[in-house]
């Protein structure tokens, strides 16, 4: 009882006075729950669960071609690992420090029921069914769900307001061992959702997303496995503006963006936009395990996404075409130096090259080239039987060049981001463990240019220019998180992760006195099948 009492005491001491009673009560309930489910199993680490760390606190489970490389052929687990779970993920992102195109408040709720089962010694299955709810509050103008892809063809209306998107998500993964050396796997995703802007003119949206990922794996020897993957996905989007009965006498202004500036401003109540997106990706995966203390996984993917945009329900006409080529590669390394110490390194590289054209005129509207390198190194040390500590450091380099020919503006942005995160994991008992973490990151700009025509319209010079200001503004991020795991009765597990981050712009202009706050909460309950 000593350690839980310490939690109560510690939390009581630090919470603000006005929230003290509420939080104290919440913690009491949490601790009570914890003790109700205590059993005499050793608390495991946070396998297949979000901790906020990339290279530590989940070793050695994340260094393989399934987790790092996404090759379903290596969906590999034993009967002991089978479980059913229910999981809730809540995310909230709010604040004025944002791009103009983003909503002031972005909330998402996802609820999944999932499970994985070893059908026999050669076949594994994993699947999930989920509901998702996305809320975008105080969103200016835009009503395109995937507005972050750099696809310049966005649609919206002149009214600011709240939008929501509700949908279902299905996932099925299957892997089969074909021989001693070969395995194959498939990962299928299916999602549908419906969106609505809750204020007039009340546009609606419908999305249907399908993705199929096929992988093959080959075990070269006891240490080395290689694999290949290919992915095909198909997304349909329909955004509809209909004559809203409640706003029959209200003017509707639809905005169609083809770049950052000069949107087509149309005073009309009825419009339909269709977007058809196809994605094709191929990749190779590699993993190495020396069976004692070293694991390494790597992948390389290459692919592209293309989107065809058409407007008008009765007589659809081509409005735009967007293509995005990308390369991504990653390498993850982990080494158990001793029973008490391990280190990890993760490197990721992404390069994107996108362009947009206006098909009726066959002219290039927009080009974007970006790349990102990130290197994370982690160190984890077991202090004693109850405490494990770890530290992760990350350096990220980002570069993005945009040429918006339609709006006559060019942008070059390059910056570095340095971050560090420290965590301490307490094993309160054999069945309860909690990981407390604090992270800090800082963005340092070292190159930024924005050239645009001084005759730009107000749409850019007063509004969308903030999309660039946001990227150019240096910021700092402080993150606090707690992750807990409780082994409950009948070999089931309760996992909990909460993270709170506050992002403050360092430059005073143009985001003076603003910030952005993010809150993530994940709760999962797992029941062992066997």
């Amino acid at each position: 009882m000593g350690l839980p009492t310490l939690i109560l005491f510690t939390c009581k001491k630090f919470v603000p006075a006005e929230l003290e009673a509420y939080k104290f009560r919440s913690i009491n309930i949490l601790v009570l729950l914890v003790f109700l489910f205590v059993e005499n199993n050793l608390a495991q680490n946070y396998k297949e669960f979000e901790t906020g760390f990339s290279t530590i606190f989940n070793a050695p489970y994340s260094v393989n071609s399934y987790s790092f490389g996404n090759n379903p052929a290596f969906l590999n687990f034993t009967f002991d690992d089978e479980f059913l779970s229910i999981k809730n993920i809540t995310q909230n992102d709010a604040g004025e420090f944002k791009k103009f195109v983003a909503p002031a408040n972005d909330r998402s709720f996802n609820f999944f029921a999932s499970g994985k089962k070893a059908i026999d010694s050669t076949q594994r299955f994993k699947g999930s069914f989920g509901f998702s709810k996305l809320e975008r509050k105080n969103w200016d103008w835009f009503f395109t769900r995937d507005y972050q892809t750099d696809n310049p063809f966005l649609i919206g209306d002149s009214v600011s307001g709240n939008s929501r998107v509700n949908g279902i998500l299905l996932n099925a993964q299957y892997a089969v061992t074909l021989s001693d050396d070969f395995s194959a796997g498939v990962n299928l995703d299916y999602a549908v959702d419906e969106g609505l802007k809750t204020v007039s003119p009340r546009p609606t949206s419908e999305h249907r997303d399908i993705a199929a990922l096929i992988g093959l794996g080959y075990v070269v020897n006891n240490n080395i496995s290689v694999g290949i993957t290919t992915k095909v996905s198909d997304k349909n989007e329909q955004i509809s503006y209909r004559e809203d009965e409640g706003a029959l006498t209200q003017e509707t202004i639809i905005l169609k963006f083809k770049g950052y500036d000069f949107p087509n401003v149309q005073r009309k109540k009825v419009e339909t936009r269709f977007s058809y997106t196809s994605e094709y990706v191929s990749g190779v995966t590699f993993s190495f395990h020396n069976l004692t203390n070293i694991s390494l996984a790597a992948f390389f993917n290459s692919g592209f996404e293309k989107t065809v945009i058409k407007d008008d329900a009765l007589d659809p006409k081509s409005e735009g075409f967007w293509k995005d080529d990308y390369l991504e590669a990653g390498l993850k390394f982990e080494m158990l130096i001793s029973e008490d110490m391990n280190v990890g390194i993760k490197y990721n590289f992404t390069q994107r090259s996108g362009w947009a054209k206006y098909p009726p005129a066959e002219v290039l509207y927009y080009e974007r080239n970006s790349y990102e390198h990130s290197l994370i190194a982690g160190y984890e040390q077991k202090v004693n039987d109850a405490i494990t500590a770890g530290f992760e450091a990350c350096v990220l380099f980002f570069s993005k060049k945009e040429r918006d020919h339609y709006s006559a503006l060019n942008s070059n942005i390059q910056f570095n981001q340095y971050s560090g995160e420290v965590g301490i994991n307490f094993a309160w008992s054999q069945n309860i463990s909690s990981l407390f973490a604090y992270g800090f990151s800082a963005k340092a700009n070292h190159n930024y240019t924005l050239d645009y025509n001084l005759l730009s319209s107000d749409y850019f010079s007063k509004h969308r220019i903030y999309d660039f200001y946001y990227l150019q503004t240096a910021d700092t991020r402080n993150t606090f998180s707690i992750t807990s795991k409780v082994n409950t009765w009948n070999s089931s597990e309760m996992l909990f992760h909460a993270a709170y981050a506050i992002i403050n712009p360092r430059a005073s202009n143009p985001f003076a006195n603003t910030n952005r706050k993010e809150f993530d909460l994940t709760v999962e309950y797992r029941i062992k099948v066997n």
Binding site: L248, T249, K268, S282, K357, A361, Y406
Partner: protein, 399 residues
């Protein structure tokens, strides 16, 4: 061993396919559109103005139209560009977006030039692009676009200066305050007697229209001014309001307009229509349906013609009005960028105005060119450039 070999073969084939896909351009294999070579706003255009008459040949020994004012207006953005043709009759420009452009080219002939050409002091003679008013300017356009220009003498003395059709704000579905305003553009007194106002026929359900009819306007709503010759004069610079109902609509709709002092009223005597006895009524020649004179709130087209009602030609359930008798024609659309959906012949009105939604209280008014001696309103026979949208109707006056 055989099984393993088969798997190895399969694996090799798959790897080869994957690697070739990765490294040898998946785009080509999957038939994705190529990246265009032409870059927006970097394409250069040249438009050469050619004289269909012999004026330029007589004056300068070449058919190139020099010194012409050329106005280009982007159909989707509304951005306007103005140029003057050079000595070769050409304008060259770059930096514009790919779009449909409404082009208005005008070469006003001076008195001295007309003296050389015809030996007379003919005034108000100009060359304009009567036949080609809309240009597609994009990467696929020819490097040099030829634009033919024809002679036009004078302009219409009577024009429609304002059309209010949207209905007022904040009064539900009230729409009885519509009107059309006629303006005397000339410097002499004219007479409205027997002049015709007709609504251009289109079937919104089937999309049927007669835009491409080479000779006639088709109409199912034809009204004429009363009078027998010189009963209803219109003075130079005078506005005449023809109201659907000549009453003070503010009584029914506070944000509407007072039309109780309108000059004429459309009164449909075979229907329960409102009649203000103090205001002369327009004479209904033909309107088979509806309880009142009615024009589209968001989309429609009107013509003002000097044509005898006795000479109307029947066609199906419509009557025909010859283009040559049309003094003015104006088309307006809910989406004025959709020029391909026009219903009025381009020779009468090359473009269209509008973009006004129901019950917004907005009105369409012709632009002012000059206001020195008297008002001169813009009349390029192109509503896309002749009209502007005003936030409230201004019956009988200019805003």
């Amino acid at each position: 061993m055989m099984k393993k070999k088969k798997f190895l073969l399969l694996f090799q084939v798959f790897v080869t396919l994957m690697l070739s896909t990765i490294f040898f351009s998946c785009s080509n294999i999957l038939g994705v559109d190529p990246k265009p070579e032409k870059i927006e706003r970097e394409i250069g255009f040249q438009i050469s103005l050619k004289d269909n008459s012999t004026f330029m040949q007589t004056l300068f020994g070449s058919g190139n139209v020099r010194g012409a004012r050329v106005n280009l207006k982007s159909n989707t953005l509304g951005t306007e560009y103005n140029y003057i043709s050079d000595s070769l009759g050409a304008i060259k420009f770059t930096g514009i977006i790919s779009d449909k452009y409404i082009i208005t080219a005008t070469r006003q002939m001076t008195d001295a030039e007309m003296q050389v050409i015809s030996g007379t002091n003919a005034t108000n003679v100009k060359l304009i692009n009567k036949k080609n008013r809309i240009l597609d300017l994009n990467a696929a356009s020819p490097a040099n676009i030829e634009l033919m220009m024809d002679v036009v003498i004078g302009g219409s003395p009577l024009i429609m200066s304002e059309i209010y059709a949207s209905g007022p704000q904040g009064a539900g579905l009230y729409y009885h305050d519509k009107y059309v305003e006629v303006f005397n553009q000339s410097d002499s007194v004219l007479y409205l007697d027997k002049m015709m106002i007709a609504v251009v026929y289109t079937n919104s359900n089937t999309g049927l229209h007669y835009r491409d009819d080479p000779e006639y306007i088709h109409s199912k709503s034809i009204w004429i001014f009363p009078g027998n010759g010189k009963d209803f004069p219109i003075l130079p610079g005078q506005f005449v309001v023809c109201a659907e109902d000549a009453i003070d609509h503010r009584i029914n709709a506070p944000n509407s307009v007072d039309l109780s002092h309108a000059d004429f009223e459309f009164y449909k005597d075979d229907a329960p229509d409102v009649d203000n006895p103090a205001i002369p009524n327009m004479i209904k020649i033909y309107q088979s349906s509806g309880n009142d004179w009615l024009i589209g709130g968001e989309t429609g087209a009107l013509v003002l013609a000097n044509f005898s009602a006795d000479s109307l030609l029947p066609f199906d359930d419509q009557f025909l009005i010859p283009y040559r008798t049309v003094l003015d024609g104006v088309e307006y659309k809910a989406d004025p960028t959709k020029l391909d959906k026009k219903i009025l012949n381009e020779g009468i009105d090359a473009g269209c105005t509008g973009g006004i939604q129901f019950y917004t209280g907005k009105s369409m008014e012709r632009m002012l060119i000059s206001d020195t001696d008297r008002k001169i309103l813009k009349d390029e026979n192109n509503s896309s450039v002749d009209f502007m949208i005003i936030n409230a109707p201004t019956p009988g006056r200019y805003h």
